[in-house]
Structures are given as C-alpha cells and as structure tokens.
C-alpha cells in the first residue's frame, strides 16, 4: 500500500476524502465530478484540446494573472488611502518603508499589463480556432464583456498612484466619453464625479477597482468556465451530440 493510500485510509483521511480508492477510470471520473475544486473542469476533453498548439494556454494564463492581481492587490490595499492628499505619499511610503512594497507593486503593475495582452491574445486564438461558433456563441459574448471589464479594471487602477502619469492618462481617457452625442458630458461627469479629475474621481475609481469590477469579473469568469465545461465535448462538425450531458 502506498503512503497516499495509507493516509486516505486512516481515520482522518476517511473523514476528508469521500472515497478511499479511485482506481478505475470510471471511479476517477466520479471522483473528479464530485471534487469541489475540480468540478469547474470537464472530466474529459478531446486529446487535441490539451496541446499547446490548440489554446496556447492563454485562458489559464489570464486566470493566473487575475489571481496574481488579487493577491498583490490585497497586499497593496493595506497601505493605501484613496484621497489626493494621501494617495501619492502612500505609494512613496509603500516603496520605501513597507516590506516588499515596491516588489509587490511591480508584480501588480506587470500582471495588469500582461493580463490585458493575454486576454486579447486569448480572444485572437479562439477566433482563429473558430471556437466561437455554435454552440459557443454566447460564451464568446461573455468573453467580449470580460475583455471590456479587464480594460476597465486596468484603467481604474491606472489612476490610483495619483502621479502625473495617472492623472493625465485618465484625463485623456475620460475625455473620449465626452464625445458621445447628447449624453457625453453627463457620462463623463458621472465617471469623474465632477468636471475634472479630482478627489471624487479617485474615490470612484478606487471603489470600482477594488470592489465592483473584480466581483463582476469573478462572476463572469465563473459563467465563462461553466459554459466552457458544458460545451466542452460538443462539436459542431459532428451530429448526434448529447446537449443535456
């Protein structure tokens, strides 16, 4: 008996794992299906789908980058107050006084830029594979929303250091909204909380950045993955697929 089996068959092991032995493929499939973490994955995929060539693993790379952003972002939140009088000083303090502050800020920054790149590349790869076609039209649409949310998350985060780079990039970016006919200025003032980038803008962008947008992104990623699993064995080129599987 291997060590793994010994652990699983101990009293504590039996209380953790709902079955002690998953030997045959059928048992393993049942175990996979019943596992809290694994159940976001399909039990089986076509052999071609596990290759690098198929996906370039860009979907999983996006998810990993998002995870890195959550972890590093939570750390940064401990040392940051979203007010024009404090924000910039907090960043300076973070970089010089806080343990690993500069490093974690770097991780957050480069993860964010990479996530925009990787999400866009994921979309391109899915396009060239033709993977948006029936029955996956809706999941492609969710992907488009996820791309927009990623851009908004990056853009709202861009303002938070409250330096010249942040201030004027957001001024230019929100200027575009004011070109919308009739409602443009209203939209812009709603985003900024006033006619120009100021303290209310910083607070709005912060709340969007650390609460509203991440929650929306998590929810949509969940639906995106669920739908991927549901459609995973469906192939438009083949007839007789079991849609209710």
């Amino acid at each position: 008996m291997t060590l793994g089996q010994r652990i699983r068959e101990s009293t504590i092991g039996r209380s953790i794992w709902r079955a002690t032995d998953r030997a045959t493929e059928r048992d393993q499939a049942a175990g996979h299906w019943a596992n809290f973490f694994l159940h976001i994955y399909p039990v089986k995929v076509r052999r071609k789908e596990i290759t690098f060539r198929y996906s370039w693993y860009l979907g999983v790379a996006s998810a990993v980058l998002f995870g890195s952003l959550i972890v590093s972002g939570i750390y940064l939140m401990f040392f940051y107050v979203p007010s024009p009088t404090q924000a910039y000083g907090d960043i300076l303090n973070l970089q010089t006084q806080v343990a690993f502050g500069q490093y974690i800020r770097n991780v957050h920054r480069w993860s964010a830029h990479l996530m925009v790149l990787v999400v866009a590349a994921h979309m391109a790869r899915v396009f060239y594979r033709g993977a948006y076609k029936s029955p996956r039209e809706f999941n492609w649409g969710i992907g488009v929303v996820l791309l927009v949310l990623t851009l908004l998350l990056s853009f709202t985060g861009y303002l938070l250091p409250w330096d010249q780079l942040a201030y004027w990039a957001v001024t230019v970016g929100t200027e575009m909204a004011s070109f919308v006919p009739l409602i443009g200025d209203t939209v812009k003032e709603m985003m900024l909380g006033g006619p120009v980038v100021a303290s209310s803008t910083l607070l709005r962008f912060y709340v969007l950045h650390v609460a509203v947008l991440p929650v929306a992104l998590v929810l949509l990623i969940t639906i995106h993955l669920w739908r991927w699993r549901k459609d995973s064995m469906l192939d438009p080129a083949k007839e007789g697929v079991d849609v209710d599987a």
């Binding site: 089986k44 052999r47 789908e49 024009p84 990479l114 039209e137 010249q164 970016g173």
Partner: protein, 178 residues
C-alpha cells in the same frame, strides 16, 4: 462491510481499467489504441498537469519582470501642469492615434463602439459551422486586417508620438509610458 472476494481485494489495474481476465495472445491492457485527437482523455492528469506548468511559467515571468523592472512613479499629480505629450494608457493608444486623425465622434465613439458590437455579434454573423481555414477566408482576412491595423496604431500611438502628438523616432526620443 462485507468481505470482498480475494480477487477483488487487490484488483490489478492496467491503463485505468480493472483487469478481469487475460485473453491468451492479447496484451493485458487490450490492443493498443491509435491516438486519435478526437479521443477523450481524462482532464486529471493530462490537462491539469499542463495547466499547472503553464501557470508556473506565467508566475515565473511575472516574478522576474517585477525583479528587473520597477513600476513607474512620476511627480505628484498637478492639475495645473499638463504634460506634453499627454498620453492615455497603452491599450488606448490606438484610439488616441485615431483621435488625431479623425473627428472625435468617429474616433472616440463610433470606432470603439463598432469594435465592441462587432466582436459580440461575430458568432451571429458568421453562421458557417466549418472551422477549416479554407472555408473561413473572409472571416480570417477581416479579423487579421483589423488586428494588424490595431497593433500598428497602438505601437505608433505608444512609441512614435511625442510633444503635440508629433512624430518621433523611439530610438531618438522616448515618450512611451507603462
């Protein structure tokens, strides 16, 4: 719990299948299957191990970037001092470049709106189920042209624009900001 039969107590597992008997002249795992790319394989371990490696590669890239490059931090925000050039984040550089070329209503509203709507509507416009490239020439050509133009505009707006949005050569003057 009933006592299992001796032959079931330690079943022999070959290739994920419990061996019930062996046919003389055949390998115990059955005839070797031809590896078909349409053949389903178990996600654990085949896909999850690959995803694990991909995740590690991504994490290493991020951790290395963070070691070698510091995130930029300029002077404190000053609403009375407009920098020149005034640059949007790099992923909006193509839009900013378009703003310099077209009316703001076109570049700032119609183009981005059309891109988002066009992407969302793509699967409903392209109804052909064929995924082989030779059946998708129009779709692939359209998407590729759009993507190449967008990348070029992004690079121009990001690296080739200087004061007053004038043309600069990035190896002479650098105004790109990350």
């Amino acid at each position: 719990m009933s006592t299992p039969r001796p032959d079931q107590e330690n079943p022999e597992i070959i290739g994920g299948q419990r061996v019930l008997g062996v046919v003389p002249g055949k390998p115990p795992g059955g005839d070797r299957k031809v590896l078909d790319e349409q053949e389903p394989v178990m996600v654990w371990p085949h896909l999850l191990v690959r995803h694990g490696v991909a995740a590690l590669v991504v994490i290493v890239v991020v951790l290395l970037l963070a070691i070698f490059f510091d995130a930029p931090l300029r002077e404190i925000a000053n609403p009375t001092l407009t920098p020149n050039p005034e640059k949007a984040p790099w992923y909006f550089a193509a839009l900013q470049e378009l703003l310099a070329l077209f009316h703001p209503l076109v570049a700032g509203v119609l183009v981005p709106g059309a891109i988002i709507l066009g992407l969302a509507a793509l699967p409903y416009m392209d109804r052909s189920p064929r995924i082989e490239p030779r059946f998708r020439k129009v779709a692939v050509a359209t998407f590729t042209i759009f993507m190449v133009v967008w990348i070029i505009l992004t690079i121009i707006g990001f690296a080739f624009r200087g004061p007053n949005w004038g043309w600069v050569w990035p190896w002479q003057e650098w105004y790109g900001e990350l």
